[in-house]
Symmetry: C2
Subunit: 402 residues, 2 copies
């Protein structure tokens, strides 16, 4: 049967291949493997009892929520988001500025639908979240990449990059940035850089996609104002999700931005899934309305802070500090590791032999160069005991390659 | 702010406009309006109590179902679908042949992702479901249309159409057909034509998308075998949904087809929403497993048969039979009305004045010609009393235009 699909049926311009994450997920299913690969929440901290209680909304609102919903999203959930996010957004969002999506991956997909023609450019951090760039690639976007340091995207490099691209006739459609507890870097984009980035975006009339799935999971320090909150021109589309602050199995996220852009994205959402599951939007809303989001989130944050601290301690206890370095993240899910003298792919091979897995740094570089001496470790999923054992195995693998 | 998006930010090749259905939905919100426009289930027949019971799976399986799920779908739900659909599919499906989607609109979207390059052709019935062609249009597909009669697509016209297109260098990627209780026509594709269509598809190596959201909602007569069940070459992708047999607010549907194609669609699904809400997939599965799907479906069918009969009776009581004709559907949601001497757009204007709405036939013609003397009436949503009153108003509007 494959003959029917190749080459006649395949999209000509597109290589279909499993993502590196999928390959890793396959690998980590080996018995005894300790995985720091997937960026997954800890199921031990899912608010199961509270979410079960929220499901009682079915009896109360069943006639409404079992029906088709508006593509824009369940209005009561929009009300809640408008109120709850006001401190981060700098003001209460209007309904027309919000679109509820099936995870924040869908925000990227819909934004590409609204803006990207084949060959258009997206400016990305180098490295960046590979799920997002994979989606952009499906839409046949090309990438302009900006290197990062411990304060995130080096925005000073942007104007030259933009000028050069525009001079060559390239069309730049948006700048993609993960502002808090970056995936995979774990760092924040500093306040100074946020301001500069907004100035640059305004100067060139380029939209910013401010992706912030981890922003509400801060362990240390003060929140940094969102770029959205500083924007007076509607050139920031802000994306957030219930995946990390409630549970990813809901697949409920949202974005906020200029009404015209939201309207365009809504038209394309109608063509992909009509609307996000109304049943689960309503359950998420009820969960929030019952006060569980506010009461449970501090427990989630404490839980993950402990897990980060456990991994930090395990690093100091078990890793050869002359061979590897890292920056302690102030929130989120990830450590970004640097092994200057050791190739990460060779380390992964050795690590998997010893029963520990991570994601190669190179997977996060959209232009396929970079990250050869880096890898990403997720600290939220593994149990404390597995964290100790896994990091110990990692230390052994490192020493054998020294 | 609009300046930022137009023209710099817009996709160049795409006109963004609300679909006719959206315009209608807006219209029908006028106070006192009786709407036969939207193709919506009757909330009075939603199994609210049973679905609430199914939500108890959260307590039992929360750790698993609140987590990210596999893109392919929740495995227990796949097990159920494999068993439950065996009579229609002609055999039990394997897991690798099934993809769970966010409504069957997403099946169309993912199939286009997997197969469509700009300018590729899709063969469609004329008329056909405008949601599906809207999605195909987003993917920059072009349409080859085949007229329908009371037995569905006139498949004998297909070979010439295909030959001509291939001779001109056109690439035809798939044939889209709604086999049971067609939207908007209400008719079935006859068994003879299903066989012929499969033969033609095999001869030219063209995939068939067999869309069957209404097939399980049959009021009269015997089921006609699915094209999928006759296919030995894996060139049929079958799509079905829980929207009409449980509730559309779940947004849970599925498709079944060749493993290679399913794998490709899965890769693209990862780029759009990662996976369908695991929470709601699990709730749908629990609902099915508790036996509610099987025990409730006959009640849904009886309910809608009564509603169809009520509308049929109202037609005979209130419509001027010299001005309008229709074919009684054996299942599904829709009547397709023909008014040979009266333009449907003029009728709609008059009808809306009188407080009754429907969808213009022309909205369902992908190449924007046809249906000027047709419109679609949904009989499932309005109450019996509203059906009587609405049809009476329709009759008055017709007489005034005679």
């Amino acid at each position: 049967m494959s003959d029917f699909f190749d080459p006649l049926f395949s999209r000509s311009a597109k290589n279909i291949k499993p993502s590196p994450i999928r390959e890793i997920l396959h690998l980590v299913r080996k018995p005894g493997m300790i995985s720091f690969a997937g960026g997954m929440p800890d199921p031990e901290i899912f608010p199961i009892e509270q979410f079960q209680e929220a499901a009682n909304i079915i009896t109360r609102e069943g006639k409404d929520i079992m029906q088709y919903g508006t593509t824009e999203g369940y209005p009561p959930l929009k009300d809640f988001i408008s109120e709850w996010t006001a401190p981060k957004m700098g003001r209460k969002l209007q309904h027309e500025e919000i679109l509820i999506t099936a995870g924040s991956s869908q925000v990227v997909d819909l934004l590409c639908w609204a803006l990207i023609d084949e060959g258009d450019y997206v400016v990305c951090e180098d490295p960046t979240f590979l799920g997002a760039t994979g989606t952009m690639r499906n839409h046949k976007a090309r990438f302009l990449t900006v290197p990062c340091d411990e304060n995130g995207m080096q925005v000073d490099l942007l104007p030259d990059l933009i000028e050069k691209t525009l001079a060559e006739g390239g069309r730049i459609k948006f700048i993609y940035t993960i502002v808090n507890f970056h995936n995979p870097l774990g760092c924040d984009l500093s306040l100074e850089r946020r301001k500069k980035l907004l100035d640059i975006a305004k100067r060139y009339g380029i939209l910013i996609l401010e992706d912030d799935p981890y922003g509400y999971v801060r362990f240390d320090g003060e929140d940094i104002p969102s770029i959205f909150s500083m924007d007076r021109d509607g050139i920031v589309l802000f994306a957030c999700s219930f995946s990390k602050i409630l549970a990813p199995g809901t697949r409920v996220a949202w974005c906020a931005g200029d009404k015209d852009l939201i309207r365009k994205m809504t038209v394309f959402k109608q063509g992909t899934d009509v609307c996000t599951s109304v049943v689960v939007q309503a359950m998420v809303w009820e969960y929030c309305k019952l006060g569980h989001l506010d009461s449970f989130l501090p427990r989630i944050i404490d839980h993950y802070r402990n897990k980060r601290d456990r991994m930090e301690a395990a690093f100091h206890a078990h890793l050869p500090l002359d061979l590897i370095s890292w920056q302690k993240p102030a929130g989120g899910f990830f450590y970004w590791m640097t092994t200057p003298g050791i190739r990460a792919d060779r380390l992964l091979e050795k690590a998997v032999d010893k029963g520990v897995a991570f994601v190669l740094g190179s997977a996060f570089y959209p232009t396929d160069s970079g990250g050869d001496n880096n890898f990403r470790m997720c600290f939220t999923f593994a149990s404390p005991e597995m964290t100790d054992t896994g990091v110990k195995r990692l230390g052994e693998a490192l020493r054998e390659l020294a």
